[in-house]
């Protein structure tokens, strides 16, 4: 009779220990969970803090500008002559826009064409070659592209155009096009691949040719993704600095021709920021230009988000 009792006691003890162990483990898990929760929270807060600081500090210094000169003088005057206290940024803004537009005009048709090739036409071995190469191109530092522009593209443009310098919007746009091409191409590629196979099958079943399938079915179906890709390329083109500085001529004036030496927001900031006095209208204008760049890229990113949301809704 004793033995089972003993057995029972032993069993009870074991389960008690087990419960204790389980409780300990439970607490450990809870602790681990809460620590990692705080860690993740901290990570995102740190990022938000940095982003907030960027906006606050750039914005604060930038807005000081309007205590010195009126917004009209800054946004609508084409005269940028810091030595004579003239801080009109209109030329840079227009140049930035026209450079971005020119870049996209060159880059978009080519990169979408490449994306179609990658996604629809190329045999597998070619795909598995092109895609890694494009990924590699995305990672090349911009100064390398700039250097190539300076030593290869400029002499070529000089020969072709007969200009003395070759620097200007066209040179910068060509370099930028090369830089944004892989970005636009890879993302468009993914968008095209994501178009459901049944669309194509249906179109072929109705007797479409391959060209008709691509032009009338696949590209329209992937259009939102492609537009996102183009905008992402645009943000890179708007913000690119080093490569542009090396081939644009850095002369603060409105570009009236493709070969006129000129300057955009980014290149002007980097050329002048190390030469300005801290508390000067000049410094504030450069900060305002940086702030403008921030705003432009925020707006572009916002458009991408909105497009993405619409696509999910559809």
């Amino acid at each position: 009779m004793g033995a089972p009792v003993h057995g029972l006691t032993a069993k009870t003890q074991t389960s008690l220990e087990e419960v204790k162990r389980n409780t300990k483990r439970h607490r450990r898990h809870l602790l681990g969970n809460s620590i990692s929760r705080y860690y993740f929270l901290f990570s995102i807060l740190a990022l938000c803090l940095v982003l907030g600081l960027v906006i606050v500090f750039i914005g604060k210094t930038a807005l000081l500008l309007f205590t010195r000169i009126s917004p009209q003088d800054f946004f609508f005057s084409f005269n940028w002559t810091p030595e004579e206290e003239a801080f009109g940024a209109a030329a840079f803004i227009v140049n930035t826009l026209s450079l971005t537009a020119l870049t996209l005009v060159i880059a978009v048709p080519i990169s979408v064409g490449m994306a179609v090739l990658c996604a629809e036409i190329a045999p597998n071995w070619l795909k598995s070659f092109i895609r890694p190469v494009l990924d590699l191109l995305v990672g090349i530092p911009s100064i390398v592209y700039g250097y190539l522009g300076l030593t290869v593209l400029l002499p070529f443009l000089r020969r072709v155009s007969g200009e003395g310098l070759g620097d200007g919007l066209l040179a910068a746009a060509l370099v930028l096009a090369l830089m944004v091409l892989p970005t636009i191409c890879r993302i468009s590629d993914d968008a095209i691949v994501a178009v459901p196979r049944k669309y194509r099958d249906a179109a072929y079943a109705l007797g479409s040719t391959r060209l008709q399938v691509i032009m009338r079915i696949v590209l329209p179906a992937a259009s939102r993704g492609i537009i996102s890709a183009v905008i992402l390329g645009m943000t890179r083109a708007v913000g690119e600095t080093m490569a542009v500085v090396m081939v644009i001529g850095n002369t603060p004036q409105l570009a009236k021709s493709l070969f006129a030496p000129t300057s955009v927001l980014t290149s002007n900031i980097v050329m002048q920021i190390s030469n300005v006095e801290f508390d000067s209208t000049w410094n504030y204008s450069l900060h305002m230009m940086a702030f403008l760049l921030l705003l432009i890229s925020f707006v572009l990113i916002l458009i991408i988000r909105l497009l993405g949301r619409k696509r999910r809704d559809a």
Binding site: L53, F57, I58, T61, P82, E83, L150, T151, L154, P155, R158, E163, G164, L165, D167, V245, M246, G249, N250, T251, P252, Q253, K256, S257, F259, A260, P261, V270, M271, Q272, I273, S274, N275, V276, E277, F278, H287, A290
Partner: protein
């Protein structure tokens, strides 16, 4: 941006201080203590770094941190109290074109910096006068044949406004004349290195640069008013395009800063390392 500037300065300071303390570790004990921060002109940076290395061997307890950016950041950093010494390519205690004087700062001459007018190797002209240079940079002379060369457009390359080299070149070579931007055949560069590349790779280009950068076969220095650009002609007074490099301090320098400036100005340093770095001793000009 301000914060970022400070951060950069601090980071550079830290790196250089560490390097410097290793260099100085072997030297004998010495009573002079302190920390000297030097900021400003990149043109004078090689000189400052060399002097700091030698000075810390003599005085191991002195830490010298040096960094370079633009000339005007030197006196600015001194004004803000970030740096003890602001290296500057012009005398920042008086007004120069584009920059007001920094009140209460003292300019200590430390070196003579010669500058040269340079052209691409394809240019046939080898002498230019003040008037011709003025005409070229004002945009009035646009073809090399007007100054005795072949029939080709002159491509003007200049430093961006605010550069110390530009301030000095305008004052000494152009006699205070303006540099006028043009729609064509005109380009601004951000540093001496860029200037050299731009003139070297652009046929028919003209530019200006510190004499020490005139090396290699792509660019050549032209004579100024018939005088060749070299250190001998600077010293004998016939070549006029040169300027003093200055260490700006808040009031008269004191303590370790004073000792350091005196070391840089000393005969030993001026005749030794400074000459090796291709600057010209200040004493050469005062005789």
């Amino acid at each position: 941006m301000k914060m970022f500037k400070k951060f950069t300065v601090t980071a550079l300071t830290a790196v250089i201080a560490v390097t410097a303390s290793f260099a100085g570790a072997a030297a004998a004990a010495d009573s002079l203590k302190g920390k000297i921060t030097v900021n400003g002109s990149t043109a004078l940076l090689p000189l400052t770094l060399q002097a700091a290395k030698e000075f810390q061997k003599l005085h191991p307890k002195v830490k010298i941190a040096a960094s370079g950016k633009g000339s005007v950041t030197g006196p600015q950093a001194v004004k803000k109290g970030i740096a003890d010494i602001g290296a500057c390519d012009w005398d920042a205690s008086i007004d120069v074109p584009g920059f007001k004087a920094f009140d209460g700062q003292v300019a200590n001459k430390v070196a003579v910096i010669p500058f040269a007018t340079i052209v691409n190797k394809n240019v046939g002209v080898d002498n230019l006068t003040t008037e011709q240079l003025k005409g070229i940079y004002a945009g009035k002379i646009t073809n090399w044949k007007e100054v005795g060369g072949s029939d080709a457009n002159i491509v003007v390359i200049t430093r961006a406004f605010g550069s110390g080299t530009r301030v000095n070149y305008q004052a000494k070579a152009l006699g205070g004349g303006d540099i006028v931007k043009k729609e064509k055949n005109y380009k601004e560069t951000g540093s001496s290195g860029d200037m050299k590349t731009a003139v070297g790779t652009t046929p028919n280009a003209i530019g200006y640069i510190d004499l020490v950068y005139v090396t290699g076969g792509d660019i050549k220095a032209v004579k100024f008013n018939g005088v060749e650009a070299n250190t001998d002609n600077v010293i004998n007074g016939s070549y006029k395009i040169w300027a003093y490099g200055y260490y700006m301090t808040k009031g008269q320098p004191t303590g370790a800063t004073k000792e350091f400036i005196e070391y840089v100005q000393s005969k030993k340093f001026q005749q030794g390392s400074l000459k090796k770095l291709k600057f010209i001793p200040i004493s050469a000009m005062q005789s």
